[in-house]
């Protein structure tokens, strides 16, 4: 089966103006001289995505995520390497590709700010050359799924950020794209709005077999929407695999919380760090490769009766942070 997205050894660099120097003299000199630096945003990046997959694309700020997304949408042209989306070369076949992809940029808007979303939806129907009857059916179907109701006739400027984002996603789905690129779709949203957007993205992708590529700094977006995660750092691939495998590969510790008969527990074992202790509750971080969990529990039981116990993985945030930190250390030493 042809991949939905295929990148092979793709690189992209930008020429940016060197930061201005301090001082009046330097400012005047800067008016007449322009010193440029070349920044390598994406460095020989390769990965592929199968049709219908939901993939999170993450990395620290400046890692090259948005640049990659723009290359996939045909807005940026790679310096070298091959990019194919749905079998098309985005930079050369942007117009053809536009009919088959949707884009959602969390911090940008395609809705006409002073008008209700319905006006933009009608405009987009014409732009994407959709049959009028079919377009009306599509709008009604998406209104029901995204629970827009009266919002569709409310001027965009009166919508909350979460409501606006639902409308933005609907706008991107109107032409039934086979591939959806989302750049931080939950940025700035409150907890319930985030949950709603995540659920909608997941169910819509499953229902219509839309391939999703989602960038986000929020690990909740990855865990609840995607199955696979691609991590990049300084434009290079750091991880490409399932979220479960990422946890297993990088997660060397477990969080253990014990509720005991004793006020606090004294557990001095190798690889065990007491995070908090007191009020009959002790929270530990256990490096399971050094001390297995069984030994920790045995040691606790020897000190006092255990009333309850919880074992959790460390948050995915920490895994990602470790991943970035390791990459940073590696690039510093090399």
């Amino acid at each position: 089966m042809q991949p939905a997205v295929e990148l092979h050894q793709v690189s992209k660099s930008f020429r940016v103006r060197r930061a201005r120097r301090a001082g009046v003299g330097a400012c005047i000199r800067d008016l007449f001289t322009r010193q440029m630096d070349t920044v390598l945003a994406v460095d020989q990046l390769s990965f592929s995505i199968a049709p219908g997959e939901r993939v999170a694309f993450i990395g620290p700020n400046g890692a090259g995520k948005s640049t990659t997304l723009k290359m996939l949408a045909g807005i940026l042209q790679p310096d070298s390497g091959d990019v194919r989306v749905l079998g098309l070369v985005p930079s050369r076949q942007r117009r053809q590709l536009a009919f088959q992809i949707g884009t959602v940029f969390g911090q940008r808007s395609q809705l006409w700010y002073q008008l209700p979303p319905r006006d933009t939806f009608e405009l987009l129907g014409r732009v994407y050359e959709i049959d009028q009857r079919e377009h009306r059916r599509r709008i009604e179907a998406l209104l029901a799924v995204f629970e827009l109701g009266k919002l569709i006739d409310t001027p965009v400027r009166h919508l909350s950020l979460g409501e606006r984002m639902r409308c933005e996603i609907v706008a991107s789905l109107l032409h039934s794209p086979r591939m959806l690129f989302l750049d931080e779709p939950t940025i700035g949203l409150d907890v319930s709005a985030k949950a709603m957007i995540r659920e909608l993205l997941r169910t819509e992708s499953e229902r219509e077999r839309v391939t999703l590529l989602l960038t986000s700094h929020d690990t909740g977006d990855m865990e609840r929407v995607c199955r696979r995660v691609i991590v990049i750092h300084r434009g290079q691939l750091l991880w490409n695999g399932s979220i479960t495998a990422l946890r297993r590969g990088y997660l060397k510790t477990k969080r253990v919380t014990l509720w005991s008969e004793a006020d606090h527990l004294e557990l001095r074992l190798p690889g065990v760090r007491v995070l908090s202790s007191g009020a009959y509750r002790t929270e530990l971080e256990v490096a399971v490769e050094i001390t297995p969990l069984g030994q920790v529990v045995d040691a606790a039981v020897r000190q006092a009766a255990i009333r309850d116990m919880a074992i959790e993985d460390a948050p995915l945030d920490e895994v990602i942070r470790d991943l970035y930190a390791n990459a940073e250390r590696r690039s510093a030493t090399s």
């Binding site: 930008f14 020429r15 945003a41 640049t67 723009k70 949408a73 045909g74 807005i75 940026l76 042209q77 930079s91 942007r94 117009r95 536009a98 009919f99 884009t103 940029f105 911090q107 940008r108 808007s109 395609q110 006409w112 002073q114 008008l115 006006d119 933009t120 009608e122 405009l123 129907g125 014409r126 732009v127 994407y128 050359e129």
Partner: protein
């Protein structure tokens, strides 16, 4: 151009019409400004005429002339500001990714706005000029003025489009617009017919699009027009073609800079 493509760009015009009809504040502001400026200049030209100065030999014609030039200027949408804002906010990324020509879409949207503004401002100019002068130019002159004025406003919009595209590099196009506006005042004959300017100004103006935009169409309400309709039509073809080439060239450079170097 197929019907589907025409419908596509007509949709951009339509949404602008909807927007203009819902957001009427700016339009009313323009109407009020138009009435005030015609009132002020009507008084000024009468005062100048009473003082015996030759410039306002026919103050009534000058008021009608100003009504015509201001009608054109006020009807043309400030598309450069919309483009600048879209580039600054980054929303332009959506428009560039759509299966529609960015230039045609922006131009079509502006024409929609022009279609709402021009009739109302035209009526305002006519009523105010009539009220302040108590006379009307020959109907034949008005019949020639109207289509040329609408063409001029459309051409001015296309030129504003080219100014707006400079925001891909400059971010803020206000300085360019200010220079443009001052040149239009002088070389276009915004306040006074170009025939009243020194010879050298007229000669310089002939090499610019400004007379085609303002003094050419507006001069039809004067006792003696500065240009014949046929010559003005020819000049429109020349300057419209040149503008189309310039806009396309700037856009090609802008998108190349964007696709190669980001933005």
């Amino acid at each position: 151009m197929t019907a589907v493509v025409l419908t596509k760009y007509a949709a951009f015009s339509r949404i602008s019409v909807v927007l203009a009809s819902r957001e009427r504040g700016e339009l009313y502001g323009r109407v009020a400004f138009f009435a005030v400026i015609l009132g002020v200049f009507s008084s000024l030209w009468h005062a100048v005429a009473e003082a015996g100065m030759p410039v306002a030999a026919d103050p009534k014609a000058l008021v009608w002339y100003l009504a015509a030039t201001e009608w054109i200027v006020l009807s043309a949408p400030s598309i450069h500001l919309d483009i600048q804002d879209a580039i600054r906010r980054g929303d332009v990324v959506y428009r560039l990714g759509q299966p529609a020509s960015y230039l045609l879409a922006e131009f079509a949207a502006s024409l929609g706005l022009l279609a709402v503004r021009a009739p109302l401002l035209g009526v305002t100019g006519f009523v105010c000029a009539l009220a302040f002068t108590g006379s009307v130019p020959p109907l034949q002159a008005l019949a020639i003025l109207v289509p040329f004025a609408l063409l001029a406003a459309a051409l001015m919009t296309a030129l504003y489009l080219s100014i707006g595209l400079l925001a891909f590099w400059l971010q803020d196009v206000s300085p360019v617009y200010w220079v443009w506006q001052k040149l239009m005042f002088v070389l276009g004959g915004l306040m006074l017919p170009l025939q009243l300017y020194p010879e050298f100004v007229q000669r310089i103006a002939a090499f610019t699009p400004f007379p085609v935009l303002l003094s050419g169409p507006a001069s039809f309400v004067l006792p003696v027009a500065s240009v014949s309709p046929a010559t003005l039509a020819r000049d429109f073809v020349i300057w419209s073609s040149a503008t189309a080439l310039i806009v396309r060239w700037i856009f090609a450079r802008a998108t190349r800079a964007l696709t190669v170097n980001g933005g």
